[in-house]
Symmetry: none
Subunit: 415 residues, 2 copies
């Protein structure tokens, strides 16, 4: 069972809005066991819609169209669909009365322009729209289904849940496939290195499809399983996850929507430990992430964002001698920053960053992207050195992620 | 001139990510005077890509494809394009050396899997990727152009600006229509109030289309003009902007892609003034924004993120008496935080935030969303009180924006 999502609307084509309707419909169709294979955005134009419908109904079993059902002159979807399915339009008295009542309830007469919303193709099944004026339509042709829904997200979402999904469930009960995903989120390892450590991906692929999704802060490994049986689906997904975890467990900080800061927070909550932060090159981003988690005041005591050397000396107790001899971006300074903030705050951990975020300020010896991350604990302090990129914002993000990951691994006693 | 955007990626089809690449490309193409008429999302599948290219190159003059250029086994776009354009693949020694160097600079050998990224179709023009490993490609056929770019947004965006748009400008100078937008960005004023202050929008609409785009941190006013003449386009846009500015100038912090922190930074750079920050509820976000601007060490000295009361006393000199009598979330504490950090750092300005970010921690007297923002200068200190929402992350964002806007208006002597 293949599906195509068709979104009609110039505002999407011009980049004025992001096509979140497609994202919602994708998830809805996947949950119904029907795979979206194409998403197409079309202009508010009769010919474009006709051609789009032609292509979609040729290649897909289920087509879901959104948008262009309103009452104005550039709402053309219904007319194009009527033409495509060769179905004349006729005023539907029930819809007409419903519209009139809707406006009366709001204490005003129905504008003439809305009258045409009661006009529907005679061959279509009407899908009621409980919160808007444009009804949805369902056409059937050669065993294929074509749903047409309004583009207003709230109306489209509700009608998908209340009409489209139940109809699909009834119609395709036997043909539907179970499609399940799980995303294993890693950080601190490059995509290519991750693939190397994972080894023979083909072995995992016998059980589940494997995709690597690199973000600049880490690589997600997405497992996808497709099967006719729900139980087999679950079982294979579990097996694939176990295969991946057996090899790269230490790099996996969470699954699906988990964030690294959440996982660090959970570890700190569980063990009732606390952290203080001394940031230079990350400029507040590390603290921002750590305080995004509700309840973070339980583990986060304070941070000093020490951009100036004076602040490193005054607020963190970094020795002027260290700054002079090794510079602000050095292993020694990172160590003293982490130790200083831990001591001052009286926390279990002190975490520090110092580096050259860029784009300026680099030298041959200390290039843009050079970052030291210090972690001071009760037993010892460690500093790690990184070379990131030449992009300021990416460097801040990467350094903040690296710092969180170092703390996570230490809390798990991986390092 | 008609364009089609083709995004390759199962993760979009499955609803795992929102297709923001299409939105970026739509805007970019429109800015180049070429109207996107179709957006198509295709599966990571050879046949799907081949068919998608066939349809796109039949109906559009310019096709921009993104995604599927990485080094892994499900990156198939390059191979499908080579097949479609009947162009054999060959290792490009320059790209190969560049890749090797890229890895060497990071102190590690190039993984074998990356080798195939140096393999390019011989008929394609190479578009360099300054921040990633996958080069872009440009194919030409029957006077039509087909750009192929990586799916990583940062890489795709940079290559669009640096390669795609200049090439389009050279090739299609005469065929394009002028479609111009300008976004006037406001903050610190509600949409309804903004419309009220703007008054008769119809008057502006005689010159340009006006749209209000509310974000949770402010309202953008977008002006759109379409014309066959570049000069008329520019003139009408200027006129519309002047009409808006005449009424709401003080709320407009910038245009188009400007950020509030950039504008604040410009004012600080120009006047050689400095700022230090004391954050509580914003948890580092305000400092993060202030340090996102290259060269920010010229004006940003330090920040203290004082989550604990002890930190407010120790690092900022807030009086224990104030904390006890008025609480950490109070006008008095906000004032002492701003004054304390300014004094300690010896900067021109001290900016502070204290509030209840939520979701927990609210009381009847001090609800979630209550935020005080303090600004201390050489002459006086002021504190403003806000009530934002119940959402933690939105509260952090809104409070950080409000703090930046207060500083901006003070620097401009509006307040």
């Amino acid at each position: 069972m293949k599906a195509e999502i068709v979104n009609v609307g110039d505002e999407i084509l011009l980049g004025q809005i992001v096509n979140t309707n497609a994202t919602f419909l994708s998830k809805a169709l996947v949950s119904a066991g029907i795979e979206p294979k194409w998403i197409t955005v079309l202009a508010d134009n009769r010919e474009a819609i006709l051609n789009g419908l032609k292509i979609a109904l040729k290649r897909a079993d289920v087509v879901v169209v959104t948008g262009g059902l309103g009452p104005t002159h550039d709402d053309l979807t219904k007319y194009a669909a009527a033409e495509f399915f060769q179905s004349p339009l006729k005023i539907n008295p029930d819809i007409y009365e419903g519209l009139k009542r809707r406006f009366e309830e709001r204490g005003r007469p129905m504008p003439e322009v809305n009258r045409n919303q009661a006009e529907v193709p005679t061959k279509a099944t009407i899908l009621s729209n409980p919160i808007g004026t444009a009804p949805g339509l369902l056409f059937e042709k050669d065993g294929k289904l074509c749903f047409i829904l309004p583009g207003v997200p709230r109306e489209m979402e509700r009608m998908t849940r209340e009409s489209v999904l139940p109809i699909l469930a009834r119609r395709f009960e036997k043909k539907r496939t179970c499609l399940r995903f799980k995303t294993l989120r890693t950080t601190g390892i490059f995509e290519s290195k991750l693939m190397e450590v994972l080894g023979d991906v083909q072995k995992i692929e016998q059980v589940a499809k494997v995709a690597f999704l690199p973000h600049f802060y880490g690589v997600d490994v997405r497992l996808t399983v497709k099967s006719n049986s729900d139980s087999e689906c679950e079982e294979r997904l579990k097996k694939a996850e176990a295969l991946v975890r057996a090899r790269v467990e230490r790099y996996i900080y969470g699954v699906d929507e988990d964030t690294l800061e959440q996982k660090v927070a959970e570890l700190l909550f569980q063990t009732k430990q606390t952290v203080a932060v001394a940031e230079s090159c990350t400029g507040g981003l590390l603290s921002h992430k750590l305080t995004n988690v509700p309840g973070s005041s339980d583990y986060f005591d304070r941070a000093v964002i020490s951009y100036s050397n004076r602040s490193k000396i005054e607020n963190l107790g970094v020795s002027p001698h260290t700054l002079e001899q090794f510079g602000a971006v050095s292993e020694e300074t990172a160590r003293e920053m982490a130790e200083g903030v831990r001591k001052m705050a009286g926390t279990n951990w002190g975490l520090s960053t110092t580096g050259i975020a860029g784009p300026g300020g680099g030298t041959a010896e200390k290039p843009v992207g050079l970052v030291y991350i210090g972690l001071s604990g009760e037993e010892e302090s460690t500093v790690r050195r990184f070379i990131f990129t030449t992009d300021r914002l990416a460097n801040k993000e990467r350094a903040a992620y690296a710092a969180l990951e170092i703390l996570r691994r230490r809390l798990l006693k991986f390092i």
